[in-house]
């Protein structure tokens, strides 16, 4: 690790709550990770574990109310995004931080042309004239591999297929050459073949623009294929983080292990899939101790009483588990 360059993005003990109808839902409770320039960070976890809230928090787009940033810091290029004035934040959004969302069908405004939506972000941030912005938009559409971009620029989103729309979203997010791209499940709604195209494209663009990427997904396979580092979340917490190769070779947290065992493999027939009994605690459940304890076969009284801190097991490999590293003694 070089000392000179500070990480581009540092999330430190982020906690986000939702106040709904008198109850408090702790969607994210103390998430920390960091990301360096040019790297891709995968965020994985099951539905509802707080992945989207985390990524939206970086954009400071969690709806407030009902959302509330309860604690923590998100430092982008050294500045805390959570305390930045709104006007300053707006200058970052779409310019230095781009975001791609999960649903290509609904993430574009159906009543404006694709071009218009890209032009808008260009004119507002880079002060281009409309004509220039249009040129740039066509250029961007070309870059993301949309066929005949100069005519497609005037198409409405509904005239495009799902994969094409996601390409437009990517063009939109990359229009102002951001330093950081946040992709919240960018391929979940797509077919395998289209997913492969999009992941390929993203990899390509990343190496070309040098942007750092936060890739949110629930699919460990996608992470394995695309990310440098991984953060595994469970019920609003980060339970494990590691370089991708390390994580797959040597998963430490019982949840990570269970998750990996539950994936059917295309390349090897396992007799029976392993499962994690039980289910994720709902966000309103007030839990003492480790959130995974109720499903963990190794859970001890300590696990049920005290929340495990993130501990570094090896370089860059942290686990939040009292029992880690799990002894493999027979």
């Amino acid at each position: 690790m070089e000392q000179a360059s500070a990480p581009l993005l540092e999330v430190d003990d982020l906690a986000v709550e939702f106040h709904v109808g008198g109850t408090v839902q702790r969607a994210v409770q103390g998430v920390s990770f960091s990301l360096e320039r040019g790297k891709t960070l995968g965020v994985v976890g099951e539905s509802g574990c707080g992945k989207s809230v985390t990524s939206l928090s970086i954009m400071r787009l969690v709806p407030q109310p009902p959302g509330k940033y309860a604690r923590g810091e998100i430092r982008f290029d050294g500045r805390d995004l959570l305390t930045l004035p709104e006007a300053e934040m707006r200058k970052l959004r779409g310019a230095r931080i781009g975001m791609i969302f999960q649903e290509p069908m609904t993430s574009l405004n159906p009543v404006y042309t694709c071009g218009e939506q890209i032009i808008e972000t260009l004119t507002i941030h880079s002060g281009l004239s409309r004509a220039e912005a249009r040129e740039k938009a066509i250029e961007m559409l070309d870059l993301v591999g949309l066929p005949s971009p100069s005519s497609r620029v005037d198409d409405y989103p509904h005239q495009l297929s799902g994969g094409q729309r996601q390409r437009v979203m990517i063009a939109l997010a990359l229009a102002n050459d951001p330093d950081l791209l946040i992709a919240d499940e960018p391929t979940t709604a797509l077919d395998v073949t289209v997913q492969a195209q999009i992941l390929d494209l993203m990899g390509d663009l990343r190496s070309r623009t040098g942007a750092a990427v936060v890739l949110v997904t629930h699919d460990l396979s996608v992470v394995a294929q695309t990310c440098d580092d991984v953060v595994v979340m469970y019920a609003g917490r980060v339970v494990e983080r590691a370089p991708t190769a390390t994580l797959f070779a040597d998963p430490q947290h019982p949840y990570t292990v269970g998750l990996m065992a539950a994936i059917p493999r295309i390349n090897a027939a396992v007799g029976r899939l392993a499962t994690i009994p039980g289910s994720v605690p709902p966000p309103w459940a007030a839990i003492k101790g480790c959130r995974f304890a109720s499903r963990c076969p190794l859970a001890t009284d300590q696990c049920r009483a005290e929340d495990p801190p993130m501990t570094e097991i090896s370089a860059g490999h942290g686990v939040a588990c009292w029992r880690a590293p799990i002894e493999v003694a027979a």
Partner: protein
């Protein structure tokens, strides 16, 4: 079997029953209470009316109690014929509510059935929708006028007209809900089980649409009462000496400058009923069916 989910988090989400959520909304609660009182008064009209609502007296246009010229025998004063306002209000509310409930009920049921049928049997859909378009082209007031011309004025033609006017709207709303229900996979699941059309219609389609339709009708209720009042106002409503709120307001408008209470009290009561119904409808909708919000 294996893989039984541990029941650790099985405690269902703390979703309170709808009425409990309704109780948490103080404004809705007030509306419900007001409506309950009004409905009670309407039902109990013969028991609680201090006077015969049809009996005139020489004490005409007596002001309500807050005026110093008021007559203690008539708390809300008397109308232009010397009839007791309070008693007439009880009876008037009664008829107004009957008109509203019956026409929304009849029209809502017929319209909903039409709409549900259109969704259930897509072959019928274009026909039903054209029929609905034709009916929509007749504003309720026009329909009321035409009917009154046919059968003469009275509560019955008003109810019929308002019921007919309710049909197209409820058919549309029922259809739109039913179409989305019909797209749901559980309908296919039902069909895959070999359910009869009737069971499918009744247990799957109707059951899933009925609460939304009910909410729609409860919101419609207010508007229907207003149209009914307007019809009465135009002289097409209930026949004298029957009291009806719109008619009372209409009769009272001639005295607006001199004894405003005769027109204003029934008009305000109409307003209160419709307001309460609207608030309650809104609250019910919020609590029960977020789908209807648009």
């Amino acid at each position: 079997m294996t893989d039984v989910e541990a029941p650790s988090w099985d405690a269902p989400a703390p979703v309170r029953p709808w009425w409990q959520r309704l109780l948490r909304d103080p404004i809705a609660l007030i509306a419900a209470a007001v409506l309950a009182v009004i409905v009670f008064c309407a039902i109990a009209a013969p028991l609680i009316s201090p006077h015969d609502p049809f009996a005139s007296s020489r004490a005409v246009m007596k002001p309500p109690f807050w005026s110093d010229r008021s007559d203690p025998a008539h708390i809300l004063g008397t109308d232009g014929q010397g009839r007791d306002m309070l008693s007439r209000l009880f009876y008037g509310t009664r008829l107004t509510l009957i008109i509203g409930v019956l026409s929304v009920g009849i029209g809502g049921v017929l319209g909903s059935l039409l709409g549900l049928l259109a969704a259930f049997r897509p072959k019928l859909d274009p026909w039903v929708m054209r029929l609905v378009d034709v009916m929509l082209s007749f504003p309720a007031i026009l329909l009321g006028l035409a009917l009154v011309a046919v059968v003469g004025p009275g509560a019955t033609p008003v109810i019929i007209a308002l019921a007919i006017a309710t049909i197209p709207d409820s058919a549309r709303i029922a259809r739109s809900i039913a179409v989305s229900v019909m797209k749901q996979e559980y309908i296919e699941a039902g069909r895959a089980l070999g359910l009869s059309s009737f069971a499918l219609f009744h247990r799957y389609l109707l059951r899933n649409c009925v609460s939304t339709i009910m909410i729609f009708m409860s919101m419609r209720f207010g508007q229907i009462i207003l149209i009914g009042a307007a019809l009465s106002f135009l002289g097409l409503g209930a026949r004298p000496p029957t009291a009806e709120l719109g008619m009372m307001a209409a009769q009272g408008r001639d005295f607006l400058l001199f004894a405003p209470h005769i027109a204003v009290i029934p008009a305000v009561l109409t307003f209160v009923i419709v307001l309460a119904a609207n608030i309650l409808g809104d609250a019910l909708r919020d609590v029960l069916d977020p789908r209807l919000r648009s």
